[in-house]
Amino acid sequence: MTREQGLEITQLLQAWQGGDRAAFDQLVPLVYQDLRRVAKAQLRRDRAGWTLDTTGLVNEAYMRLVGGGGVEWNDRGHFLAVAARAMRQVVIEYARRRVASKRGGGVRPGTLDERVIGIDSHAEWLISLNQALERLTAYRERLARVVECRFFAGLSNSETAEALGTSERTVKRDWTFARSWLQKELGA
């Protein structure tokens, strides 16, 4: 990966725009890697505590990609959709790790420098959410995409519409249904 990751992303974005659906799946890991690194850096920087500003992350990743201008607005939308998927992966990865560490235990008491991860009921909730999303994808992929954009990447309705190339009204309708359905599934 020494050469032209940026170029690769741009090309894939264009391919995807041109209708190549496989390009989307190739894009996600590229953006994921970047997001994950930025997320870690943000956590390490630890300015505002340990919170992750996902919207900020997605935007930051985008700015890094385009290097400050010139790329079509259209590309930004497409990128956001990719970034939202990648963000979902980042979040779920963290959640899985937290659950794993909770089960695994293995924390030696008494040392302050030990790497520790707290108990987090939300981590399990997030994992269930992810599984429910898989079911939703199988039914209608766009619903899952809307959830990725709205929930994981924190995009607004209009941004989500831009990202998915659909209307804001559709996004609203999809989001209302998907959210209620997910809640029902998770509540059960």
Binding site: W50, T51, G68, V116, A138, R140, W181, K184
Partner: protein, 1149 residues
């Protein structure tokens, strides 16, 4: 999934309905599909009562994790932590939660505060800070600081520690509730100050002093809390470069000191500032930083734009009765109490510039104590009235003498204050410069990221900002100079003006300016200069000279660059690798440097410095590989460098520097590649033009890309592919590039050198085309001479002058003009170049070439050329000792030896050994440069000489074939060449000269056709005309021999001889051919025989007079003339003799 589709449709339908109609719909549905109805109803419940977790919050969209974290972090009451049982949550810090707790075994229910680290995902920083807080607090033992009781790990694995529980309230609330007077409030601040001072003495800075961290317990004792973001002095966690990358130190924005906001290194002065804020707030009941939010930018603006307001002014404006009441005073009384001393103390404590504040917290405390004692303050400006008033206030009975004494003391106080003020001003200025510099760098970075455009505007803005720094320093006096030099130097660095940047940064360094910033900048700028030197050294082909140049560069730039880079260890990942990579690069560990860069580029694919440095390293390595002959590997590196640059340019679309590097890469590529022909070079030139054009578009006032393009043309020219016919496809654009460079300026020796070269090329092209050099050589000379005045040590200029002299003298002697003066002038320049850089091969070869010219001239003028050729051989052998395979040198040896051989054969001696030696050297040269046409001509010439030497032996077909092959290869290198045509003709001619009589007629016909063709080329060169004359002489002789009419050939032969002598009257070989032609005419035209023989003898005498050693060539002719006269030789016999007569060797320049 059909089920989900139905559910979705039903959901959409039902949510479109009004609430009261929904149940109706559900009932209907239930009748048809109870299961679906059930699901739908659940769905509706979820819709009506959405789970907060799923809803992106407005304003802070996407901050899902902070919600998730906050909930889970709170440990429920009753949780046992170590020896303690938690009772309730007390509060929340940046990274920890504080609980009220009791010791499990404690009968007295002694309450403690337990601080537990909130889970922090992976934040190493948070955990280590938590550990640090514990360590810091453990070390304290002060009545105003809560003590550490215990520490450990919660069952969940989170670290915690227990502190004395401070049962009280925050200082501001306490002061108001207790209705403390101004004096009482000041006393509390004094107490806080003492606790702070104690921390400072223990080398800890609190960094987060604010009312909520200062408690007053029930006994009225102040307790300083929360060392959560405290810092141990000297520990490395804040770092000015961090702000460049958007890092910065933790803080509470509304209570932040300016240096915290700017992310500068923090000292105790920051705590002092915050103590000032606390005092301000306790006096006025209002926060000092009035902000809409906690946006650092707004604080920054506020601090920048509005000076600190005096507390008394605040109270005058808005001290309501409530504020006054809580201080047990009326509004007027309150204003009066605060006005004056307390105003001054607050103003001093809240100075923007740390150096203008109190030097220590205890100094602030002392001033507060002075205020309580009604003594003069250090903060107060030393107005005499004030001092006296204070003094009188305390010592009403003192004498006038005392007053006078006081005045003396005041004088010295004034001086001390003046000094202090000056120091403060310098420091304040430095900080402003630092900020300004960062902005400058940001502007330029942003500019380079934009699509391809002219960045002049951005650069102008930056220049204006730098001028402002300059002007301010100018006004402020010499004390501000180092800081200004530093700021402007860094600006120049960002602008890419490395020499200027280096000079300024050095001046700043000399002036005592220190810090990470300047070390960094110096490290970078020296590195740039070092690499620039390396790039220039690369153009030097001679190993010794190159090494010399590189060593100087290492001492001058590389070593100081390494020293500066090593002295800093940036904490930012992305930047930390840069010095490491540069250090490895500069130390010659190219592979290691590339590994670092690879790592950086895979982690940070858009880091442009990495791209630029990678390209440089690869170009450098390619050059090294080229020197060791690994051309293929060098080509691969250059290709990789090209890829790196291409990816850099994807992002930095207006990064002129990257474009320049690309252009320089083309330059090296030209040199390392062997170009079979012109067309293979053309795309490369077109690319270089494109790339340099872009760099010039981005920075129209930058000479480097234009200069670099001129170098590309120079390299293209050097390939030798453009000399013939197409020369102007190089000279014209090169000339344009140079003119552009002249226009852009500044006056640089390199620019004028390229101007000289382009004029030289133009003149050279004209000379090759048979035209005169016109004024080009004069202009070239003027340009080189001007370039020398700009930099007398730039050796290439002398070389240029020597080149001009060489070509010009050649042209002169071909036209019968005595070139001695030019040759001597050229020699002087070549010698100067050799003196300047003794190891430089080009200088020495030019000197050798100069001697060879002298040899040619001697040969033409009839004197002995051998001494000149010998000196040429000496000069060129000095080069070959260092580099035995240097093609240019080998070729020169061939030329000198060939000249000696030609001279020998024309003197009737055997040149075979010399012919062999010349041939060998040319062939060695061709091993290095297989497409060198000049060497191929040399090979053909040497083979011709070898055959020439044995007139008695029949020609071996094999030798002839080889000679013809060499001519063919030489011909491919040139469009039309006088030498190629001459030698081609002479080889054919030699076949006729040596042919048995039976083949004469057929061969003569063939030769005649060849002669017509060559004549048709109209080369206008004395040498070719001489060969044509010789050719017709042989044809005429053959005609006479076989009994046909020689007249037409004789006429043509004489015409060409006259033409040759008209071009170059000194061409004695033509004169000899004319003698031979006249002899044939005398044999054929019996009536005019006597007069022809007479003229012939006169001509022969003249030739012998001009070149006494010509006897070997003339004598056979005179002997034949005698025999003809005496009738012992018939015309046919004479014809055969003159057909077989070799004649002078075709070698007169």
């Amino acid at each position: 999934m059909a089920r989900l589709a139905r559910l979705e449709r039903a959901f959409e339908a039902v949510t479109a309905l009004e609430a009261e109609r929904r149940s109706e719909y559900l009932r209907e549905l239930e009748a048809r599909d109870p299961e679906l109805a059930n699901e739908l109803s659940e769905l509706l419940d979820a819709h009506d009562q959405p789970d907060e977790r799923l809803i992106p919050r407005s304003g802070r969209r996407g901050m899902i994790w902070d919600e998730i974290e906050e909930d889970c972090a709170v440990l429920p009451a009753g949780t046992e932590v170590g020896d303690f049982r938690l009772l309730a949550k007390l509060g929340e810090g940046g990274m920890a939660t504080v609980y009220r707790a009791v010791r499990k075994t404690d009968e007295f229910h002694q309450e403690v505060a337990v601080k537990v680290l909130r889970s922090t995902l992976e934040s190493e920083a948070g955990r280590s800070r938590f550990a640090r807080e514990r360590r810091i607090v453990a070390a304290f033992d002060h009545p105003n600081i809560a003590r550490l009781i215990d520490g450990g790990m919660t069952p969940g694995g989170r670290p915690y520690f227990a502190l004395e529980l401070v049962d009280g309230q925050p200082i501001d609330r306490y002061a108001d509730e207790e209705r403390l007077t101004v004096e009482e409030r000041v006393k509390l601040v004094i107490e806080v100050g003492r606790a702070l001072h104690y921390a400072h003495q223990n080398l800890v800075i609190h960094r987060d002093l604010k009312p909520s961290n200062v408690y007053v317990d029930r006994s009225g004792r102040v307790r300083l809390l929360d060392f959560g973001i405290a810092k141990e002095l000297g520990s490395e966690d804040s770092f000015t470069l961090a702000t460049l990358a958007g890092g910065g130190s933790p803080m509470t924005p509304v209570y932040a000191s300016p240096e915290q906001i700017f992310g500068e290194a923090l000292t105790t002065a920051s705590d002092q500032y915050q103590l000032g804020l606390l005092l301000f707030e306790l006096l006025t009941g209002r926060r000092h930083h009035l902000l809409d939010g906690d946006d650092p930018a707004s604080i920054l603006r506020r601090i920048e734009e509005s000076p600190t307001t005096r507390p008394s002014r605040v109270l005058e404006n808005d001290a309501g009765a409530e504020v006054a009441h809580s201080r047990r005073a009326t509004s007027r009384e309150l204003v009066h109490q605060v006005r004056g001393d307390l105003d001054w103390i607050v103003l001093k404590a809240l100075a923007r510039d740390p150096d203008r504040r109190y030097p220590t917290v205890s100094a602030l405390v002392e001033d507060l104590e002075r205020y309580l004692l009604n003594e003069p303050l250090t903060a107060r400006p030393p107005s005499v009235v004030y001092r006296v008033r204070k003094w009188v206030g305390r010592n009403r009975a003192q004498s006038v003498l005392g007053v006078l004494l006081l005045l003396v003391i005041l004088g010295s106080l004034w001086a001390a204050r003046d000094q202090r003020l000056r120091a403060a001003r310098v420091s304040q200025f430095s900080q402003r410069v630092e900020r300004e510099t960062e902005q400058i760098e940001r502007i330029l970075r942003d500019a380079s990221l934009q699509p391809l455009h002219d960045t002049s505007r951005e650069r102008r803005i930056v220049a204006e900002r730098m001028a402002r720094i300059e002007a301010e320093a100018e006004r402020g006096g010499p004390a501000l100079r180092p800081a200004a030099d530093y700021g402007v130097g860094r600006g120049q660095l960002a602008l890419g003006n490395h020499e200027r940047a280096a000079a300024l940064l050095e001046a700043a360094w000399e002036g005592g300016f220190r810090g990470e910033g300047i070390r960094w900048a110096l490290g970078i700028v020296y590195g740039e200069l070092y690499r620039k030197e390396l790039a220039e050294a690369r153009a030097i082909r001679d190993a010794g000279l190159r090494r010399e140049r590189v060593e100087i560069a290492e001492r001058k730039y590389r070593d100081p660059a390494l020293a500066q880079l090593r002295s800093i260890a940036p904490e930012i990942e992305e930047r930390a690798e840069q010095p490491a990579a540069l250090i490895a690069f500069h130390e010659g560990r190219l592979g290691e440097a590339l590994e670092i860069i690879d790592r950086v580029r895979s982690n940070f694919p858009w880091t442009r410095w990495a791209v630029a440095v990678e390209a440089e390293i690869l170009t450098e390595r390619a050059h090294q590989l080229y020197l060791t002959g690994e051309l293929e590997q060098a080509g691969l590196d250059l290709e990789r460098a090209g890829q790196a640059l291409a990816s850099g340019l994807e992002i930095g679309r207006s990064d002129a520097d990257l474009y320049l590097k690309e252009c320089q890469r083309f330059d090296v590529l030209m040199q390392v590649t062997v170009w079979p022909d012109r067309t293979s070079l053309q795309p490369l030139i077109a690319n270089a033009e494109e790339v340099c054009g872009r760099a010039a578009l981005i920075r129209p006032d930058w000479v480097e890309p234009v200069l670099s393009l001129a170098s590309v043309y120079l390299a293209a020219w050097d390939s030798g592919r453009f000399w013939q016919g197409e020369g102007r496809t190089i000279t014209v654009p090169m000339r344009a590039a140079v003119e552009r460079a002249l226009m852009v300026g500044p006056e640089r020796t390199e620019v004028h050198h390229r101007l000289g070269i382009s004029e030289y090329f133009e003149g050279f092209t004209r000379v090759l085309a048979g035209e005169g050099p016109g004024e080009h050589f004069d202009r070239a000379t003027t340009a080189f001479e001007h370039a020398i005045t700009l930099d007398p040590n730039y050796p290439f200029n002398y070389n240029g002058l020597a080149l001009v002299a060489s070509t010009l003298s050649g042209w002169q002697m071909r036209h019968g003009i005595d070139p001695t003066q030019i040759i001597l002038r050229g020699r002087a320049q070549a010698v100067r170049a050799v003196e300047l850089v003794p190891g430089w091969h080009n200088a020495r070869t030019n000197l050798a070439r100069n001697y060879i010219r002298e040899g040619h001239w001697s040969s033409l003028a009839g004197s002995d050329p051998a001494p000149a050729y010998q000196r040429a051989l000496e000069a060129v052998r000095a080069v070959l000792e260092v580099n035995p395979t240097f093609a240019g040198g080998l070729r020169l040896v061939g030329q000198a030896v060939y000249g000696l051989g030609a001279e020998r054969v024309d003197s009737g001696l055997d040149p075979s050994d010399l012919a062999g030696e010349a041939l060998e050297n040319y062939r060695l040269a061709l091993v290095e440069r297989p497409f060198d046409g000049v060497s191929w001509i040399g090979v053909a010439g040497a083979r011709l000489l070898a055959m020439w030497a044995q007139p008695e032996q029949p020609l071996a077909p094999h030798d002839l074939a080889q000679a013809r092959e060499a001519v063919g290869l030489a011909d491919q290198a040139f469009e039309v060449s006088v030498h190629v045509e001459t030698i081609r003709l002479e080889i054919e001619l030699l076949e006729l000269k040596r042919a048995p009589r039976t083949e004469v007629k057929a061969l003569a016909d063939r030769i005649e056709r060849a002669l017509t063709e060559t004549a048709a080329l109209d080369l206008n060169a004395a040498l070719v005309e001489c060969s044509l004359a010789a050719g017709y002489r042989v044809v005429a002789a053959a005609a006479l021999e076989v009994g046909s009419d020689p007249s037409p050939a004789l006429r043509r032969g004489l015409e060409h001889a006259e033409l040759s002598l008209a071009i170059n009257p000194l061409m004695w070989s033509t004169a000899i051919e004319r003698v031979a032609l006249r002899l044939l005419a005398a044999a054929h035209q019996v009536p005019e025989r006597a007069s022809l023989l007479e003229r012939l003898r006169a001509d022969a005498r003249e030739v012998l007079h001009r070149r006494p050693q010509s006897g070997a060539l003339i004598d056979p002719l005179l002997e034949a003339a005698g025999a003809l006269e005496q009738g012992t030789l018939d015309p046919s016999g004479l014809g055969e003799r003159l057909r077989r007569y070799s004649g002078p060797f075709p070698f007169r320049r």
